[in-house]
Symmetry: C2
DNA sequence: CATTCGCTGACAGCAAACTGCCATTGCCCC
DNA sequence: GGGGCAATGGCAGTTTGCTGTCAGCGAATG
């Protein structure tokens, strides 16, 4: 029962020095999970990695899957970066739960786990042990499957706080008349709002709209 | 940069011998992710572990979270075991994606990762490295959040294959008349089916039913 | 064979939802 | 002030959805 290959390095400098070559070796699959895209203290690190990877991702059948939380959508700059990622062929998904620590898996053979920030630096744990990587990869897959694709998430801000109120009344099963009165608007206007909502959700019927709203997690 | 504490053992016997004491030390939190409950080749292992843990879970404020795939619901015997788990205070959730390898995290201090089966035995990777456990714990959390609670999953088998067909037509936004014709049944019968579906989904309106169906993932 | 039961379908009536049209209101800009 | 402009509400008419009732059909049961 040998100690598997697990090394711990402190700071991005050491990571680049001791594991930088692993990024260039990416061959088939590159997985990454993090809260948002603002994870490298030195901007150069990002650009260097991106520059190294870009030729690879386009030539071969490389799969790049990036998983972020909705925090990545809050900032306009990061949205821009996300779209760039999509542009170069990466898959991006957004999950609701938190992903506090950065996790990177390359070709199922190398895994890099980032620890919490300590004095402006992070500790990185790098391993090539299949026994460690397999289960983590499985967990990543499960989270990935449950997460919404970025494209879906970018579509739905069409529904303003006004539409949300309509959604609530509809979700509560109210009659149009009751709902309109509870919102203090006329029946006609309420139905206009509903019609707008249906259009926004690209639906032909109320059931369909409800289904889509439920799928997109617009209920709470 | 020290080698963190990572050991690899082969077979449940060795695991029990070298890491068995860690199970009794569980204090605040016990996480477990696996495809189904049939993960121990020796039935005794399960009962031993359960016996060791049961007193703990009830006395202190111990959190036990078990994450399985829907495979665990297919077998009647496993459903029974799941209900027992609920009975002793464990939280159980079901996720749609696959969770091929068993993953156990205890108190955020010990992590046990199971590898694939090889000749009736598995290789277990046991570690106490925070750098490894933290990120995996985060991934577990994310998967957990996205998964449906077992209680929800046990409720909804009310909808038979017949109801699914109705769901599809409704989800497609068809008019009742079109849907009825496409299914080769009369308008009256179709509406009867819809009414049954609404009752099954405990809904007052079609929108509400759609919303619930969407939330429960009944769309595909 | 007769009866009962469950499911289906047709008809009818009603409630709810959808839409077009127009008058009104409030607001911004010229 | 006057002229758009957008949002709202009222009205009317149509469509769609909902349900009760009853007759027909077939299978199971006696």
């Amino acid at each position: 029962m040998p100690n598997d290959q697990v090394i711990t390095v402190r700071g991005e400098g050491q990571l680049a020095a001791r594991a930088g070559h692993l990024f260039t070796g990416v061959n088939k699959e590159f997985l990454c999970a993090a809260t948002d895209m603002d994870t490298w203290s030195q901007p150069s690190t990002r650009t260097v990695i991106a520059a190294r990877m870009q030729p690879t991702i386009q030539q071969r059948d490389l799969t790049v899957r990036k998983l972020y939380t909705s925090a990545a959508l809050a900032d306009a700059g990061q949205r821009e970066q996300l779209l760039q990622l999509l542009g170069i062929g990466a898959q991006v998904r957004i999950c609701e739960a938190g992903l506090p620590h950065e996790t990177i898996i390359i070709d199922r053979r190398v895994m890099i786990l980032a620890g919490p920030w300590v004095q402006g630096d992070r500790e990185f744990t790098v391993t090539t042990s299949p026994g460690l990587i397999g289960p983590v990869h499985a967990l990543f897959d499960a989270t990935w499957e449950a997460a919404a694709s970025l494209a879906d998430r970018l579509e739905l801000p069409l529904i303003g706080p006004d539409g949300r109120a309509i959604l609530r009344t509809l979700g509560a099963g109210m009659t149009d008349e009751v709902a309109a009165r509870s919102m203090g608007i006329s029946l006609r206007t309420y139905r206009r709002r509903v019609a707008e909502l249906l259009r926004a959700l690209d639906s032909d019927s109320r059931f369909q709209a409800g289904l889509r709203a439920g799928e997109l997690g617009l209920s709470p």
